[in-house]
């Protein structure tokens, strides 16, 4: 086993592409080290990307925000501009694990770990976030929902690294929100989760909407029908009830140690309603 800390993304991609055995990227380590401890993975090569220039930064550009792959989630919460623009994404990122984990874990890691229950992913999908994927001599930008393909599986090729997550700058009258259900108040993996992102027109009606659900299917799902229900509404009671029904219907959950099919269906609808209500208020809706 080797541990290498490259200084450039190209070197990192080259190392990963060139490794003969199992290679793993280390950013926050909060998933990788747990999997190593449990004997689920024994990497031959660990590539620590934290020394790569720029990967530890959140950059604000004309188009929006670029969040580097090595930025710990705690730092997202400390960035007031990001917090103001994308409170839902930030609250999702800040729900991952404990304070201790917050100081290490990253949203890129959360995305690439490809758990259907990943906290930041529904919020990112709802936000229409994009991932910058760098490989040996390649660079492409894809929708975040295109990264995970199933539990623990991604569309990334050998040698590819997600360098950053891009979030658009905010249109006026926009708001997002993320809610998850966990049995305790902290430390659990989401049993069900919902991310909602809305933009309102000048009359306070929903102009555009994206809603994503977590932990109810093999990957986080974008519920197109939910957007259709929301658009044109002011989130009256009837709309919210329809939204809950559509979201419950969109779930393809399983029974497991964290929850039952019935529970996940029902609570997905409840969380969708509540998250939409919060996002609507954040967008200035009344």
């Amino acid at each position: 086993m080797r541990y290498i800390r490259p200084l450039s993304i190209e070197d990192a991609a080259g190392l990963l592409a060139g490794s003969a055995g199992t290679a793993a990227i280390l950013a926050g380590g909060s998933d990788l080290l747990v999997r190593m401890k449990g004997g689920f993975i024994e990497p031959d090569l660990i590539v620590d990307i934290k020394a790569i220039d720029g990967l530890g930064e959140i950059r604000e550009t004309a188009e929006g925000f670029s969040i580097g792959a090595a930025v710990p989630c705690a730092v997202l919460g400390e960035n007031t501009a990001l917090q103001k623009a994308w409170p839902g994404v930030v609250e999702a990122a800040k729900l991952i694990g404990s304070k201790q984990v917050q100081g290490r874990c990253t949203i890129v890691g959360n995305l690439c770990n490809a758990s259907p229950a990943a906290d930041s992913v529904p919020a990112l999908v709802a936000a229409g976030a994009k991932a910058v994927v760098v490989g040996p001599g390649t660079r492409r930008t894809i929708a975040v929902e295109a990264v995970p393909t199933g539990p623990g599986k991604t569309s990334l090729a050998k040698g590819e690294i997600v360098e950053a997550i891009l979030l658009d700058s905010r249109l006026p009258r926009s708001g997002d929100a993320y809610l998850r259900f966990i049995p305790r108040t902290e430390m659990d993996i989401a049993v069900v989760s919902a991310g909602v992102n809305l933009t309102l027109d000048e009359q306070g009606r929903v102009k555009s909407a994206r809603l994503a659900l977590g932990a109810v299917a093999p990957t986080v799902i974008l519920v197109e029908e939910a957007a259709e229900v929301l658009i044109g509404s002011k989130l009256d009671e009837a709309t919210l009830e329809r939204l809950a029904k559509v979201c419950s219907g969109a779930c393809r959950p399983i029974d497991d140690k964290r929850g039952t099919i019935e529970f996940r269906r029902k609570v997905a609808g409840v969380l969708a309603k509540r998250a939409a209500t919060t996002a609507y208020a954040r967008a200035g809706g009344k």
Binding site: Y3, R5, V34, S98, K99, Q100, G103, R104
Partner: protein
Amino acid sequence: MAGVAVSTTINGDNVEFLCQPDETLLDVLRDRLGLTGAKEGCGTGDCGACSIILDDRLVCSCLVLGAEAEGRHVETIEGMAHGDRLHPLQQKFLEHAALQCGVCTPGFLMAAKDLLAKNPDPTEEEIRFGLAGNLCRCTGYDKIVRAVQDAASVMKGA
């Protein structure tokens, strides 16, 4: 498997060690450096008993590789008191009996220190959520929260 040579700062002292690439910082502290104050309760970041402060961030040392400590500043429970003068948190934990078995105590103290550094005047709710990454099975947390509240007021006055 080749060892990794690491040069780091622990509790203000320069320390050099050799570790395996897959060895956690917790194992390095405990098994190579004799700093057994950080405990392994789970090894998966779920209990906080191995909490340390790494470059001003509270982390679980079981989720950090020893190799990652290169060039960084590590604070452990062994560095919390100044000589024989206890940190106010340590003193208040004793006075409030905020420990029974005491195995979670080093982790709680590091977490509480980090919490008060970032938020010197926390509400009860902020303390409870700030310490939610540390499990205690003995106390029901009541006396821990009170000790942190008391330490916060002492430290503000200092």
